[in-house]
Subunit: 615 residues, 2 copies
Amino acid sequence: MDTAELTDLGQQLRVDSVRASAAAESGHPTSSMSAADLMAVLLAHHLRYDFDRPAHPGNDRFVLSKGHASPLLYAAYKAAGAIDDDELLTFRTLGSRLEGHPTPRRLPWVETATGSLGQGLPVGIGIALAGKRLEHSDARVWVLCGDSELAEGSVWEAAEHAGHERLDNLVVIVDVNRLGQRGPTRHGHDLDAYARRFQGFDWHTVEVDGHDVDAVDRAYGEALSTRGQPTAILARTLKGKGVAAVQDREGLHGKPLPDADEAIAELGGSRDLRVRVQEPPAARMLHSVPTGRPEPPRWERGEEVATRDAYGKALAALGTARADVVALDGEVSDSTRAEYFAKDHPERFFECYIAEQQLVAAAVGMASRGFVPYASTFAAFLTRAYDFVRMASISGAGINLVGSHAGVAIGQDGPSQMGLEDLAMFRAVYGSTVLYPCDAHQTARLVAAMAGLDGVRYLRTSRGAAPVLYGPDEEFPIGGSKVLRSSDADRLTVVAAGITVHEALRAADALAAEGIAVRVVDLYSVKPVDRAVLRRAAEETGALLTVEDHHEEGGLGDAVLDAFTDGRPVPRLVRLAVRTMPGSASPQEQLHAAGIDAESIAVSARLLVENAVVA
Amino acid sequence: MDTAELTDLGQQLRVDSVRASAAAESGHPTSSMSAADLMAVLLAHHLRYDFDRPAHPGNDRFVLSKGHASPLLYAAYKAAGAIDDDELLTFRTLGSRLEGHPTPRRLPWVETATGSLGQGLPVGIGIALAGKRLEHSDARVWVLCGDSELAEGSVWEAAEHAGHERLDNLVVIVDVNRLGQRGPTRHGHDLDAYARRFQGFDWHTVEVDGHDVDAVDRAYGEALSTRGQPTAILARTLKGKGVAAVQDREGLHGKPLPDADEAIAELGGSRDLRVRVQEPPAARMLHSVPTGRPEPPRWERGEEVATRDAYGKALAALGTARADVVALDGEVSDSTRAEYFAKDHPERFFECYIAEQQLVAAAVGMASRGFVPYASTFAAFLTRAYDFVRMASISGAGINLVGSHAGVAIGQDGPSQMGLEDLAMFRAVYGSTVLYPCDAHQTARLVAAMAGLDGVRYLRTSRGAAPVLYGPDEEFPIGGSKVLRSSDADRLTVVAAGITVHEALRAADALAAEGIAVRVVDLYSVKPVDRAVLRRAAEETGALLTVEDHHEEGGLGDAVLDAFTDGRPVPRLVRLAVRTMPGSASPQEQLHAAGIDAESIAVSARLLVENAVVA
């Protein structure tokens, strides 16, 4: 396309953004209009993409980090022939694929859900890393960011990562339109300010007038010819460009234009330009081929093994069996034991340093490319990435997150290192699976099973060693549980997981010696829970005592409720959990102080079987 | 002190770090040894601090961002005479004030809990902002960071904020010891790489040999004389400096020295140098004085008002009544309605832009200075700051966090903007309070009541307008609830909060028309919950039906369980919550699709009163 045609295409994208938002009576047309020329040039001259074959391995990947500019994206889809005008006008209505913020659950051309700002670039880096190091692909990754979102630290965490990894297959386009939601951004139109920041992180930068289509064209060309560095294109634009009533004006974020018809007329009226987007180059489809025979690790029953250690060994073995498994580390692989995988499969191991948002985002990006990522750090530090986990669930991303050093049982390091909110955090995520093994074989089985699940999967591991309870061939279905002690005389059921399973068994033995039979359930699958076993336990023993190394809200104790919220009779319940703020102490002192050790379980159990209220 | 004395003091700090870690048989001596000279010079020559009067307003503030180097901090306390040698050797034992990572809950000289890396600087910025803009203090804020933690985006989010705010009362000292936990850092000893990054964010930088005490002394002097910019001192150091067996070696992070006695001998043996830390200058104690008469906002009963709007107006009124109230915004104050406060009290309004980690960290820092911060953004985006909230609870920080746009009820914007995990997230935080008002007067009362609570307090507000239910003089105690419909004939109790209260009332009316009397409880205090009212409802009506605009895990439905986990009989329960992934749709369509509108409540209630299981 020549200059006039490109300019015309930009105007069409504006008109269609205005039209879609007007039809929806909501949306972000002004944020779309600023980036319309940037999008027009990309679509017409640089993007290589087959909209009929979104899975084509040679396709470029495009991420709209400023997800609220979805009208622009959908207008571009229409220009590319991927959707028709009728669908464009379903924007933001019930059942439409064209949501307020784009999601890959609904649209095959969307790589990742956006709408929480500052996430497009980190996920794009995961995609670019997969392209460069795993797929050996020539595809480029284009990320269109807003300027406001550059205030998010995650953007600079990502910039550091991309600079260090020399991701020259990555181009970030920043739509510097000067205006955020509530007013001017920090740096306004000072492109140099942004350039200095990106350059500080070893990026190549290009500053450009984002409404000069030829200059934008040259900027993209410069980005593509830059080797050894990612490129940031800093484009000076005007919010609401092209319509005097809104152009470069405050107070108009996220609102349809006051007079759509007049705006469309001012933009030169509706057009129906169709863009022939470049075909992707021929590329090899990625196939997952086994690279070796699976040899799951084995231990002796009774051997003292930390579940984090079992995770590391199981993951290394899984990596041998499956070529699509990759591991990501937050600079603690010696603690999480992901180091075993790193040693066996260095080409599929990604060091993200102490940057948990990038850690999870890279996993999301790799999952979008068909890989099966396992990202691990301390359970406590996964809280750093909660917004990324939330967005991953909206994407429907299949990621495995593994949090080590769960609970007070870590001992001396104190509360900052203790995962005490992680079960609550992951249970509340849509479509998630939450697993909490108590022994090595259980861990190894669950690590392998996770790979095949949908959505966000979380595995919680422990720092300290505990005896191996199960044999190497025991099965642990997702949504299942194990009844470890059971008799017809059981007077209550202790429900435990992870470290507290061992405490529960000790308590059960002590109580048995007193003539009190209690059932013990190992609820390794915290979400989904084993409703059948819990309901049977309730009917047969009348009362449930849950015990967990986690704060009392949102964890195991709350999870058992899932079996009883359909109106059926509910058993009597006692919930033992961490209710105090721990300090430093030995692991066993911590369990005792928190009231979740064998002795505390036995005390509560005695009260419960006497029908007393447990204070 | 002269060069020899400073050097000697540095060695003492090393020796005491080694001794404390040896006594504890755990800890991070090598990470302490690298920064010992930096700490010695600071303590002896630059820090102004009265350890007998930690609340002295003229005191400098010191934040150990690399909290794992706690042995160094405690060794410095000993050198300053704040603790004795016996206490030093209680490091990391049960009941000791000297935890693995320092916390202000236990030690009066600690400004904020650290141990999750990348948080000291953001919190330090909150302290520095309070000093500059609220206290008009000459105190300096010193933050000692590790090099590994500079991989956290939160550090650069903070750097951007401090540069933009020109915080020349802030000095960051980076202990560039080249080694992280599992191996070398990204940039090793490349001080220039760090300098470029800080300079990119408009900081002054000084590069220095961190073991040359005179050079360090000069660097601190240069930092103190720099105006209009914060300063980053980039100090080249060696991990484990001074002991050949560990110096600059990998694989020794977080471990006591292999031979402590030999190490101490190599360091020149134990010393008992005492430092006379400079007295702080005379300074005015900050007093909270009312600046005007409280005039809480009032509305007409039945008037349609969004609770977010009530929040903004109540906060503005509170700011008039109390001079210690400050407000912080994540660049969405037009949506959260914090803009009302900004208009009335611009000098106490802090724009943090789209940077939720900095938003919460600044609140923590201001709270540590005695202010009462209210930080607000969309509920969904507070997930971005979960690790900061977690650490705030470890600090015991009194912060108010307000999340707007809760739930599917926001409508068209779609799931990325919907707070659907926030109740779970905040309930799981130690010592937190979780509030979810349904009308304007309730919101206004709770906004004022929050200010007087301990710990992390969370208020959830809604986007859409709803009728005012309560009068302006109604009281809403924390931990209370309101029974909105009640009779002796009640056959079940609907427990709702926020938007679902209005749906529950509609359902109750519909059911009453069919002859089914149901009780309706407005559970505005989600944590703590009103155990008495819930238990009475259970006894009198036999069944509870909870309904919430939140995912089903960890929210209102789980919260009611708090009233029944002491072994008493539990009522039959049905939990209505968001179990699907919403798309775009109108608010009422969303409530219906999620099964939490009046019609859905009525359907479940009919089944429940017939003793049927609710699918």
